[in-house]
């Protein structure tokens, strides 16, 4: 279980407070207006931003001293998820060996995971030779291979068209959201949350509300959510 305990974050003049817990095996969507601090919260969980007070706890242990790479989390960023000068196999192999000295068995693992995201035989291509959707699949494959218990998604599919984005969200749900993994994803589109999230955290006005069940929340939205969704929706 991942816990934000009285977390206070600051970036420039911007402040955000969060106090909540993320259960294992749940898909949680962070929604809210742009600039509200969704990505800031994610950065704090991942270890890129030290909180001014409070703590991030994993299985009861404070993660404050753990570098981003040592935390039980994988991250997919908005862009630059693949190194353009490395092949797809190398990009994915980084999940197993950061120094890229892979054994034959590890190479086989890379090929297996590529097959699972529908990219058989793409090992030796460079990212530029792949379409946007295929690049997203390759990045997902690396997260899958890293096999960490928490996955943080910072709108990695925002640049894809709506059809492709839904396809990727479904792939995330079927491939990643299994075996008790927790997913926390940032989105500004309520439809994304409705599509795959079990619960929703609303980030607005300098505060992140604790997770609420997705269907309950949208059926009976609180004031801040109504303000964000606009009068015509909700």
């Amino acid at each position: 279980m991942l816990i934000c305990k009285a977390l206070e974050l600051q970036q420039g003049d911007f402040q955000l407070s969060a106090d909540m817990q993320f259960e294992a095996g749940q898909v949680t969507a962070l929604i809210g207006p742009s600039g509200a601090g969704k990505s800031t919260l994610l950065a704090a969980l991942a270890g890129f931003l030290a909180p001014i007070s409070g703590a991030v706890l994993w299985q009861g242990r404070d993660l404050a001293k753990d570098a981003p790479g040592d935390r039980p989390m994988s991250v997919l960023f908005q862009d630059n998820n693949l190194f353009p000068h490395l092949t797809i196999a190398q990009n994915i192999g980084l999940a197993l060996r950061p120094d890229l000295r892979l054994s034959p068995a590890e190479h086989a693992q890379v090929s297996d995971v590529l097959a699972r995201v529908g990219l058989e035989g793409f090992e030796d291509r460079k990212p530029a030779a792949l379409s946007g959707g295929q690049q997203s699949r390759a990045a997902l494959a690396r997260v899958l291979l890293a096999d960490r218990p928490v996955v943080l998604l910072d709108e990695p599919f925002a640049a894809l068209g709506p059809g492709l984005k839904n396809e990727m969200l479904d792939l995330v749900q079927t491939v990643l959201a299994t075996s008790g993994r927790s997913l926390i994803m940032v989105t500004h589109d309520p439809a994304d949350a409705k599509r795959i999230a079990d619960q929703v955290v609303l980030v607005a006005n300098g505060h992140a509300t604790p997770p609420a069940d997705t269907s309950t929340l949208f059926a009976n939205p609180p004031k801040a959510l109504v303000a964000y969704l606009g009068a015509g929706m909700g």
Binding site: F48, A67, G69, N80, N81, F83, L86, L94, L100
Partner: protein, 501 residues
Amino acid sequence: MIRALPGVLSAALVLLLTLGTLAAVFLRADVGSGLSAADWAAIRFTVSQAVISALLSVLFAVPVARALARRQFRGRGALITLLGAPFLLPVIVAVIGLLAVFGRNGIVNDVLGLFGWNVSIYGFHGVVLAHVFFNLPLATRLILQGWLAIPAERFRLAATLNASVWRMLEWPMLRLVAPGAFLVIFLICLTSFAVALTLGGGPRATTVELAIYQALRFDFDLGRAALLSCIQFGLCVVAALVVWRMSIVDAMGAGLDRVVQRWDLNRPIWDYGMIACAALFLLLPLGMVVLQGLPGLFELPQSIWAAALRSILVAVGSAFLCAGMSLALALRGGALVAVIGVLPLAASGLVVGTGAFLIVFPFVRPADVALIVTMLANATLALPFALRAIASAVADVQADFGRLAQSLRLTGWAWLRIVVLPRVRRPLGFGAGLAAALSMGDLGVITLFAGQAQETLPLAMYRLMGAYRMDAAAGAALVLVGLSLALFWIFDRGGRANVDM
């Protein structure tokens, strides 16, 4: 992210060679007898030739830049590229070319001789001529950048208002850009020892740097050499501080290939005449280097090849060291590194050399360490240029991929090997090429240290000129410029090959 040690070592080496040599010079300076009349004359000469050189360079650059800014013609791109070339051209090679045009038996005197006149290239006007040859291209690029930075819409606006483009747009731009160009060139002319060594000399045309050289090499008066070094340092610091306060436009940048459409062009002869004059002034000496150098190749003494090999070794060593130090400093980052990166700009090669001489002299024979000291000094003096290219590329890599690498536990040497090196290869190759070419042509520190057995190619060439073996010297010049450009090309190419970003 990367281990700090290489960055600390690089910073230490730069500090040792800039501030350390300076400290050595200060400690040893012999102020007892004060400045002699000859010293004052050297100071006056140094400052006045630099002022006149910078002034003329900027004055001539204005019409050339104006012509290039508003005329489109075949070969314009090649000419602008050529304007960048003097930076890589060994000073002594250019001097040989200038001698072939303006020297006693040069083209100009051949023509003037028909009327019974002649001009001498030695002394004040020779030094100024060489400085204008080197810095007219730089001034032109700086001012051309200013011209092209004027938005096209302003020209359209001026055209619709029927207003004077010169008064509304061009004069205000020049008032911003020209003083900066003047100061940069003034600073360069304060520290161009090789020009003064070859074309100056005598009581009326000795720069402070030349006086340092003479005090050290001929009189072996270390106290006086140190005192003169302090004066040279003072001159450079004052000039550098003034330059620092002005923001200088980047002359190495690209984007000079466009021409703004204008509606006030009625006298093409004037523009094309200026361009032709400038091109002739730059190309004629270079052409003469090739023309006289080719037959000279057969006159080369055997020792030239050994000197060439030494120069290549020093240049390659200096290139790797400079690129390595730049990378280490760029990875470390921070304000202190930024300061260290510009320190060598204010350093004079001769002051660094004198300081290094004073440091090593009690322990070893200076000639024994001539090549290694030259290599270290050259790497340090080229550092600001290489660092500027490399630091921004490293910053980009960190901004784009730093977090991804952290989350993948891709740190330390793996981060350097797998991500940074492949992604900064281009600027790294460019920086190394720059350092190699600058080191290859250097005729500064080496003159203070070398004996017969340690001479580099520029020094061997200078000695041939001193022995009036001008044919052999021209041959050596051709070899030198060929090797400089080849080294630059190989390093730069190495950074570009098989890169897909």
